[in-house]
Subunit: 225 residues, 2 copies
Amino acid sequence: MIELHQINRVFRNGESTVHALRDVDLRIEAAEYMSILGPSGSGKSTLMHILGCLDTATGGRYILNNHDISTLDVNQMAAIRNRNIGFIFQRFHLLPRSTALQNVAMPMRLAGMKNADRMLRAAQLLQRVGLGDRMHHRPSQLSGGQQQRVAIARALANAPQLLLADEPTGNLDTQSGSQIVQLLEELQAEGTTVVIVTHDEELAARTGRVVRMLDGKIASDAVKA
Amino acid sequence: MIELHQINRVFRNGESTVHALRDVDLRIEAAEYMSILGPSGSGKSTLMHILGCLDTATGGRYILNNHDISTLDVNQMAAIRNRNIGFIFQRFHLLPRSTALQNVAMPMRLAGMKNADRMLRAAQLLQRVGLGDRMHHRPSQLSGGQQQRVAIARALANAPQLLLADEPTGNLDTQSGSQIVQLLEELQAEGTTVVIVTHDEELAARTGRVVRMLDGKIASDAVKA
Ligand SMILES: Nc1ncnc2c1ncn2[C@@H]1O[C@H](COP(=O)(O)OP(=O)(O)OP(=O)(O)O)[C@@H](O)[C@H]1O
Ligand SMILES: Nc1ncnc2c1ncn2[C@@H]1O[C@H](COP(=O)(O)OP(=O)(O)OP(=O)(O)O)[C@@H](O)[C@H]1O
Ligand SMILES: [Mg+2]
Ligand SMILES: [Mg+2]
């Protein structure tokens, strides 16, 4: 489903150059359940943004469902993102002036779903992450873990084929966190490809494959026996 | 040092009313090392904002170093915050158009420290959290865990007497996280009062006292034997 071949990503700002990803090779099958771990700054989020068609590599090839992503223009990439990819951002990126409900409905609106349908589905998704009584709150009126759960619900809005979760339980207590993991595992059992960046070794141990990064490189890539 | 007496905090927005803190009583001694745990939405950050003089209770009394905080005006509260309190926010709240160095120097500038002195101290603090080579990056040019560490360094800028850390290791791998915990413990050994909100039971087990919250109330408050 996914093939990354010799992916490089360099950030240049004025005099500083950061080689955030170096010669990354990665193959991900449909419905795979994998985790990505590594020290702070090792390139995990950068890799996720390239997988999610939110950033373009400075070198190498990204093949997603047989499309060479480097041949697509900005609009084609946006269309792929909207229909096929759900992204849970490490920093959430919720719209501050919209309610939880509006934030979750947004991807469905972009996909052309009717208003009544998307409001109903958004409410159901928020119920599913335990926020049924917080639907009309704006992000500043929510706790950190509640904002994280809105970001999770929003990523599921268009029932994506590929779910990229960048530290989805970082702000959640053990119980809320395991409810989210359970939800991600249900989706994977239904055929969604689930890639989780995490610092939680216990969560990583539940996944079928653990990729460890170090200084922009893949240091190890181990499939569970 | 700190006395909270029957603290209540109610949020009213339109038709919704959230009773985020209910009848909270809490005494914190100087140089205490304590953690606060509880489910997502249980009131931890709300409690921290009141302790940090960033929010005012709707009921009850807050005595800090023998000052009744409810008798202070906005400017007096700001002065106490700037000089005595370091706050590591769950959502970081870095200035997006300033560099890591400028972000860390900001509280020192507000306190009237000279430019050369504050730039030197800001650089030292960033070195201490492992960001010596990221000083001139702006938040969008930093990883999530690097942004968290800038927020930590900034909270230490004015060598505060009270350090409030709202999930300070949430975005950090085990190694970076334990470096931060070590730093917080050094400060506490030097006399700083350290209050940590965390979801990490292992971190909580290191502290001298564990307070657990549930639905806006303190459910338990246990000092280590
Ligand atoms: N726009 C940018 N300009 C310059 N450097 C950048 C930029 N974005 C990221 N970096 C750097 O690239 C490296 C990788 O960042 P990335 O966000 O992928 O790390 P990460 O593994 O997700 O870390 P964390 O666990 O802290 O979230 C970091 O050292 C970071 O400082
Ligand atoms: N401005 C606000 N308006 C309405 N409700 C609010 C507001 N701010 C917070 N709340 C609610 O108050 C409750 C407590 O929020 P708080 O941020 O203190 O929780 P928390 O314990 O820090 O949670 P987390 O672990 O998820 O960070 C939550 O249910 C939240 O929805
Ligand atoms: Mg990251
Ligand atoms: Mg909180």
